[in-house]
Symmetry: C2
Subunit: 363 residues, 2 copies
């Protein structure tokens, strides 16, 4: 198989990786944000979300993105001391203005509003404007779980995906997630890019010297390639289901861009509208127990998960993993053992620490 | 290309087809339901929805399904005179009991409730239980459009899709649709099965003697095949994005089965839980103008659609069609010219008319 990790859970570090303890990574992240002028509470929250993302194994959206965020603060593109506020709300909806913040901060606030609305009316939706990259969508989609709710999060994006039948980087590659509470089993979590892959994952494959599926990217001439170094444009999710992937991608653009601020990712141009700048987001929470008792719901979730896990497998597949299951298993293991992280990833954090004059806990 | 119609809009009838006028088809559908004991208003509504589906070119979910529905009424499996009622509601949610009705009837009622809730609170959701097959999801997802809302509909299903890594018909193939209002352009409509294809489409390919994509189905031995006659189990949508397709499929099962009635399609067994029996559904409407003015929203939708349509195409692709665009163009053409329908499809309607002693308008 060309692509790593599809049916195999890898918990041990590779030769290219070092193991970093969760508390050490959290301490460094907090210090780095503090060193860049981010207030203590926000630095703590950023460290929480990004380390949680790393311990789930989604490095592309965890602390690997941290040096980039800090550079944008230092470069004046992101507001280190934003006033995040609710600018409009009704019984089941709210709009949050991020004031140029790191997207994570406004996103947490918006999802809290959506959860509050869902408690009162059954379902809540919230949008965020004047925001930036929000990291891993799962951070927000999982917030409603402890309230007995189903969560959803989606963000605007940089452009990088061709529509079905096209070869141009015209559509966004929206980070989105759905999360559903379960009982004894882990909650179901779909954390994904709306295109065939996150660009971060293409970068990871490049870093680890791996090949891509042939139906993932086109090169500069519009031809399919499995070489991550030649990747010029991503295809819509779906392979031969391109029309579905393409359509779903546009729907994500509607929710994350047109509904919040009247501007589709598809129509964003220039630096000011790249993924890291002037981003917008959308969140939703649905309360389960208006429909059926939560225990009945979570018991049936468990039964669904077990039915799928125990169904007949293809030759060579040892186990069917449910959506998000590998990430929960990594979190369980790595919370104790520490997180295997690529040396270059660790190096970029250390470089940033040196630049800001901040102490590295493991050095 | 193995699969018909992906980049080419075909409006002319093939050799296997005859052209039936919309009014004639509507008249026959109404008469057939009347002949099966369905009250006049419900017969009219069923004819509206099924003919609308045919004129959009989605024959698998239009009147081709009609003889099956009527057989289930005659066999006592579907209630021809149901009392469809709202059994519970709150500010933003409602539950509808279909009383064993054809799914269409309860679905229209539920979406009306969701639209009403969205008008009051910003977003509305509604579930349906004790229902049956609901035909084309687009019928309901498009209802919110004229209210300046984004619509969504999804149904429980018969089983027929393998999870990623699996070979067993363990997951449903949920009919779902999203619809988004536009301005001068046609509304964006995603009307699709959660698996790689609707079974009805596999049947259509069989009827027209066409091949499938190799990543659509497995045969009885779990091997890929492009022969629609050998199709035993559908794959999840997504091809090499199988994990996404599989995850999305389960999410649709959560919304359409577990949330409404605590029973996943995955866990339904036996005839009583097949797609036509004891189905359940979920609907949602989001009001646009709480977030931004509707004219701003629809103008940006138009701009998005035009940006995608005018982007660089692959060699051999004459035009990039937007989601739902081919169906709108068919409707525009066929509303005037009549609908090209396969002779066997027309024959099955005529046979049912003979069986019920009902006059066929075109004979």
């Amino acid at each position: 198989m060309a692509v790593d990790g599809e049916h195999v859970l890898r918990l041990e570090p590779t030769e290219d990786e070092v193991v970093i303890q969760v508390e050490d990574l959290h301490r460094l992240a907090r210090r780095l944000y503090g060193g860049a002028g981010v207030p203590e509470g926000d630095a703590e929250l950023m460290a929480d979300l990004q380390v949680e993302t790393d311990v789930r194994g989604v490095h592309s959206h965890g602390t690997r993105a941290l040096p980039g965020y800090i550079r944008r603060i230092l470069g004046g593109h992101t507001n280190p001391k934003p006033e995040v506020r609710v600018i409009k709300e009704g019984p089941s909806y709210a709009m949050v203005d991020g004031d140029g913040c790191m997207g994570h901060l406004a996103s947490v606030r918006a999802m809290q509003k959506a959860i509050g609305k869902a408690n009162e009316t059954g379902v809540g939706i919230a949008s965020v404007i004047h925001s930036r990259h929000y990291g891993a969508a799962a951070c927000y989609a999982t917030m409603p779980l402890e309230h007995g709710m189903i969560g959803f999060a989606v963000s605007s994006s940089s452009k990088g995906v061709a529509p079905f039948g096209g070869t141009e980087r015209v559509m966004g590659n929206h980070g989105l997630a759905h999360a559903v509470p379960a009982g004894e089993e882990y909650p179901l979590v779909l954390d994904m890019a709306s295109g065939v892959s996150a660009w971060g994952r293409v970068g990871t494959m490049r870093m680890y010297g791996k090949k891509l599926h042939m139906d993932w990217v086109l090169d500069e001439d519009g031809n399919p390639t499995d070489d991550p170094h030649q990747a010029h444009v991503l295809l819509p999710a779906g392979g031969s289901n391109g029309p579905k992937g393409s359509a779903y991608n546009l729907l994500m653009d509607v929710l994350s861009g047109i509904l919040p601020m009247g501007l589709a990712t598809v129509n964003r141009v220039g630096e000011e509208f790249a993924g890291q700048q002037n981003a917008s987001q959308f969140f939703q929470a649905i309360k389960v127990d208006n429909f059926i008792p939560l225990e009945e719901f979570t018991a049936e979730m468990d039964r669904m998960i077990q039915t799928v896990r125990n169904s007949r497998r293809k030759d060579g597949v040892d186990r069917i993993y449910l959506p998000g299951e590998m990430e929960w298993l990594k979190k369980e293991a790595w919370s104790k053992s520490g997180i295997p992280m690529h040396k270059r990833h660790v190096g970029s954090l250390e470089d940033m620490a040196d630049e800001l004059g901040v102490e590295v806990p493991w050095r």
